[in-house]
């Protein structure tokens, strides 16, 4: 029996995993945003994290916390813990050695919550919800910069879902959740410049309402948003996107994430939706065998 995973029946409270930023900092450089010499302000980071935490609680979200670990500054980015599908948790295999120490912590957490924890095969790289987001029935997945296409195919087989690997071509948008965010089963925001022609064609073909984010707003990490019901929490500094979201019927809550953006993360990176993302078709559809 899974205590916290979605069961696909009655709607349950939205549940999100977060990790307090006690040990967060820029200690290495594994994406173009990170500069060790710039550093982040711990007090401001804590305040920004708290603001997100408060906002989520205010939306009725149940928050699970994982204990921060010294020497694992990026453990705060729980989106990269793994991928949730019903009562299955596919734990991440990080590409960069500096983050590989996070896996045992995320694995223990998932096991403690009753998930059926699965590891990707062999030396395949997979960085969890950072690179794999359901929108409707399909699992949209980013590859090349962090996750491997072959590993994504394996996940499709293992879960029995349709996986659509999209190549990420701009190193600034190294995870799929930095340039693509499903809003509901038929809607998503995306930054076209992060994909190639094939990826853009797939997104346009498969998602009925696709909102383009302009380069400036994408560069301020506005695609890295958290969706709870009809509310979107995103970084300040994306007024055009906020207006588009309002038009689509979403309420927006802009927040500051400057300290986390220095590390290449924003609202979405700081959260893992434990009961499945709002846009995941399987949350409302009939249960299929795993």
């Amino acid at each position: 029996m899974v205590a916290n995973a979605a069961n696909g029946n009655a709607p349950s409270l939205p549940r999100i995993l977060m990790c307090p930023p006690e040990y967060f900092g820029i200690e290495y450089e594994i994406n173009p945003w990170m500069h060790v010499e710039v550093g982040s302000d711990p007090a401001l980071a804590r305040a920004q994290w708290n603001a997100l935490h408060e906002a989520l609680l205010g939306l009725g979200v149940a928050i699970d916390l994982i204990d921060p670990v010294q020497g694992q500054p990026d453990l705060v980015f729980t989106a990269n813990a793994g991928l949730v599908y019903r009562d299955i948790f596919i734990v991440s295999h990080f590409r960069h050695a500096v983050r590989q120490g996070e896996t045992p912590h995320f694995k223990s957490w998932a096991e403690s919550k009753g998930f059926d924890v699965i590891e990707p095969p062999g030396d395949g790289n997979f960085e969890g919800a950072g690179d794999a987001l359901f929108c409707g029935e399909a699992l949209f997945a980013g590859y090349r910069l962090r996750s491997d296409a072959r590993c994504l195919h394996w996940i499709g087989d293992r879960l029995g879902v349709s996986v659509l690997p999209l190549e990420l071509v701009d190193p600034r948008f190294y995870h799929l959740d930095t340039c693509f965010c499903p809003l509901d089963q038929d809607s998503a925001i995306y930054y076209p410049g992060a994909f190639d022609d094939y990826g853009r064609a797939v997104l346009r073909e498969r998602i009925p309402r696709l909102v383009e984010v302009n380069p400036e707003e994408a560069a301020s990490f506005s695609c890295n948003a958290v969706v709870v019901g009809r509310t979107v929490l995103l970084n300040k500094g994306a007024p055009k996107l906020a207006a588009s979201l309002t038009e689509l019927g979403f309420r927006t809550i802009p927040l500051g994430f400057t300290e986390f953006i220095k590390s290449g993360g924003s609202a979405k990176c700081l959260t893992l939706r434990v009961d499945g993302e709002e846009a995941a078709g399987w949350k409302s559809g009939p249960r299929t065998s795993k």
Partner: protein, 427 residues
């Protein structure tokens, strides 16, 4: 024994645009490769990086959640180009089909392969060795493969040649077959395939054969004639002799009978005692072939008979005079035999193996036994035309694995007469 059955080894085919010097590697990709456009993207990437491809297998999932599968032969002009393409495709989720070297074990006894040896076909074969594909030399069906671990040279080897400790390839892993591409041009080999019929237009077929012989000779390769005694019995020896004299035949395989009756004709004007001018049996004619063999044996062989002036005409005379490569292989019912006839079949096979090295075209006329024996040794790239009045001869040849055979069901004499005329007129 069979052939063109490739067992469990994988098969790659060359696309027409790739020259034979190129390199090839198979990759496979599995997943939602159609919906995600990964398959078209992979194919586009191959072309963009200067390669070419052939889809060897493709299975499309019937429901949206079903994965699809494609196996693709990737061709490039050289190893470096191929490595670049493969490195790129791996990023897009494709993986090489062959990731292991061929396995070899030391022969545990002489004269036999280890159990599970890789049994060869007559198609061009390659081994994965130290991560690279290497050609198997001396391609021949129904052999094993040995690899020199130092030089990395691989070749087909008959089981009788296996020595104790010789490294022999076992299993199918790391072995692949590159089937001979069917010609697309509208030549004899293009439109006839290997079907056998007596209803085909003879003049067209004949011009096709003549053209194939002419182009083989022009390219510096050899034409092999495999002949049975019916060439002589039907009065065609002079046509065959002319083909040799005029330089269209570089290699001759036959048995004791063809040589004996050819020389009998030169000595007595008969073949098996029948006058080739009158078509009637001659008195004591049945003794002619034995007297012929006896005389040649007394002279010390066919070559000596030519040198001494005793033998002045016929196929064997022209062959000796022209200095073409002749292999006469014996059989258990041979009279004599003539001194040049090799009576040890294994020795004869080895002589034939050496003699076919540069052969590109084989004309097999009126002999089942020698045609099949030769067909067993020829790699599939060698074009074979089998001429016989009996369709079963051609069928047998194809059924025993020489599938590249084009069969012409016709009487030998008019065929050889017309062929010699066709080639003679256009020298």
């Amino acid at each position: 024994m069979t052939h063109s059955n490739n067992g469990g080894a994988s098969v790659a085919t060359r696309p027409p645009s790739t020259n034979a010097e190129g390199v090839v590697e198979e990759v496979e990709v599995r997943g939602h490769i159609v919906d995600s456009l990964l398959l078209p993207k992979i194919l586009d990437r191959i072309l963009m990086l200067g390669g070419s491809f052939e889809i060897l297998d493709c299975k499309i999932g019937s429901r949206r959640v079903d994965p699809s599968y494609a196996r693709i032969a990737v061709h490039a002009s050289d190893e470096a180009g191929l490595a670049e393409i493969l490195g790129d495709l791996i990023e897009h989720g494709a993986s090489p089909v062959h990731t292991v070297d061929a396995r070899v074990v030391a022969a545990d006894i002489a004269g036999a392969f280890p159990e599970d040896f890789y049994s060869t076909t007559n198609e061009q074969t390659q081994l994965r060795w130290n991560g690279h594909w290497i050609d198997v030399h001396d391609q021949e069906m129904d052999c094993g493969i040995t690899v020199d671990p130092v030089s990395g040279h691989a070749r087909c080897i008959p089981m009788t040649h296996v020595r104790l400790g010789m490294p022999i390839v076992i299993g199918y892993a790391g072995v692949r077959v590159l089937p001979t591409e069917r010609p697309r041009e509208t030549s004899l080999f293009g439109f006839m395939g290997s079907s056998v019929s007596s209803e085909k237009p003879k003049a067209v077929s004949l011009r096709g054969v003549a053209e194939a012989i002419r182009s083989t000779v022009a390219s510096g390769k050899k034409v092999l004639l495999v002949g049975g005694p019916a060439i002589v019995h039907t009065g065609s020896a002079e046509h065959a002799a002319r083909l040799i004299r005029e330089g269209w035949i570089q290699t001759l395989f036959a048995g004791n009978a063809l040589a004996t009756h050819d020389i009998e004709q030169a000595f007595y004007g008969t073949s098996l005692g029948v006058s080739l001018d009158l078509g009637e049996s001659t008195e004591h004619g049945h003794e002619h072939h034995l007297r012929t063999i006896n005389r040649i044996r007394r002279l010390g062989g066919i070559a000596r008979a030519v040198e001494s002036g005793a033998l002045k005409s016929g196929i064997m005379f022209e062959a000796v005079r022209k200095g073409i490569d002749v292999v006469l292989a014996g059989s258990i019912r041979d009279d004599g035999p003539l001194p040049e006839v090799i009576t040890d079949t294994l020795v004869a096979q080895d002589r034939m193996r050496k003699a076919i090295q540069d052969v590109d075209f084989a004309l097999m006329i009126a002999t089942t036994l020698h045609s099949i024996a030769t067909g067993n040794l020829l790699p599939a790239r060698v074009k074979v035309v089998c001429v016989d009045i009996n369709p079963a001869t051609v069928t047998k040849l194809s059924d025993r694995g020489t599938f590249q055979t084009v069969g012409l069901v016709t009487d030998v004499e008019p065929f050889l007469r017309a062929l010699a005329e066709e080639l003679g007129n256009r020298t």
